[in-house]
Subunit: 199 residues, 3 copies
């Protein structure tokens, strides 16, 4: 989420839901991070956004709608709050009975998530590792395969890693399906293959 | 469709298409149900909406566009009618040569459709059975498996049924794929597993 | 693309991306075809639109954004140009440093692409062959199967071809999956099965 909202402007509202604990007592929260509003469950989804912001502020949402389903808080609880923030900004905090809470950051989490977190329709494997932190001279490894750096798909006829359009390390094969050909899978660790080469 | 439009406000227009008979002589119709407009083919799609409305009214659409494809009436015929109703309300009836027809209800259909009608991306099986009509103490059965009631996903470590966010009975496994693990399939009947328990 | 934009009005802007060469030196272009604007890579995507237009004009986009990813020109380069054309029309040509180029047509390409170019969710096989150029009395062949003409899905209980809602020849089975049952595949040639019958 942090990577995907780099270009979001101050005053904008980001609404994201990954919420397996919907209906349990996990908090519903609002985060103000570098002028941008985020709304969602407090289950770690907003943690890296909070960590990378300057002076983030967070609130627990006290308001509950008259009809609250047990399994679709995105529609019933979060969406009205998002609409309120989008329309009236900070004034909505009072309307929705928002109460300040400490940071939503998860202090035990690593700065980079060096693993495959998503595989797209084409079989490209996206990691949670920011490419700005990786020297282009490094080879990376995943699933027993080695990936050299390439700038564009068309430039590579080998398994390669590149900085994707959201600034994250992505593993791919040009015009082929890396997931299938290299047996990549969600959650698989990504490491530096050959540190000596980076000297 | 009836379950999914519970929250739609009077004056709104609902446009839905499931139309295997497109291009045949099935009617193209408009339904006014509790102040809400529905537009679509008269093939049963609007039947339960009509049944559950107070004093529904229905019209056959006489108008035909200058260019009518044989296979995409959603674009060529229905969409202009929907736009007309959305912009000008009841006045559009005359423009599109709407002629009153009897109810669109299908009188022979059961009140509840006790079967799996849709399986979502996560393998959860949605039925056409309204959960308000089912006691929470009942166990349901489908595909040889038994499902106890649960309120939220996180609360259940067994096959369970719950009232989904549209008020329908849904069969699921928490964080697992019920379709695959329990061999659920579209059209499969859902029954009460153990009526004695409900005493 | 040419088939899908028949109904687009003069002044509208069409933004389409199929861009395996993103990040290489292929041109980024603007096409004005019968009053409609098209924006995209110059890799053939706009070729048939240019060919079928009267007096098409084309420009190479000289402008580059401050932050240009190597792999997502749709977002970084093309989208701002599309927004400029949509908001300010021809004035945007200067803003984005557009320089006239010869036609984007590919002269070596056939007028009709007699092959399966897309298979939809239902297993219907769409070709690049315009149906207006095919006599309804002709049987077509693909993958060893023969397809007679039908006007609607409901009318046919045999493998059939029909003019789809975009004017292209499409191969289908009524309420069944033609791709699976007839082993149709992307790229497969479509021919006239039995020319004698058309006499």
């Amino acid at each position: 989420l942090a990577a995907y909202t780099v270009g979001v402007a101050a005053g904008d509202v980001v609404f994201s839901i990954v919420d397996p604990g919907v209906g349990t007592d996990r908090d519903a929260v609002i985060l103000l991070a570098d002028g941008r509003w985020f709304v969602g469950p407090d289950n770690g989804l907003l943690a890296m956004v909070a960590r990378r912001a300057r002076d983030p502020q967070a609130w627990s949402i006290g308001w509950r709608p008259p009809n609250l389903s047990q399994t679709f808080h995105g529609r019933d609880l979060f969406a009205p709050v998002v609409a309120g923030l989008a329309n009236r900004g900070r004034e909505a905090l009072t309307e929705f009975d928002a109460r300040p809470v400490p940071t939503l950051d998860r202090s035990s989490w690593a700065e980079e998530h060096r693993a495959i977190v998503y595989i797209d329709h084409y079989g490209n494997a996206i990691t949670g590792w920011r490419a700005a932190a990786v020297s282009r001279s490094l080879r990376l490894a995943a699933g027993g395969h080695s990936f050299a750096h390439a700038t564009t798909f068309a430039a590579a006829d080998f398994p390669f890693w590149y900085e994707n359009s959201n600034g994250l390390v992505e593993l791919a094969l040009n015009r082929r399906n890396a997931q299938k050909e290299l047996q990549l899978a969600l959650g698989m660790a990504v490491t530096v293959a050959d540190p000596a080469r980076s000297q």
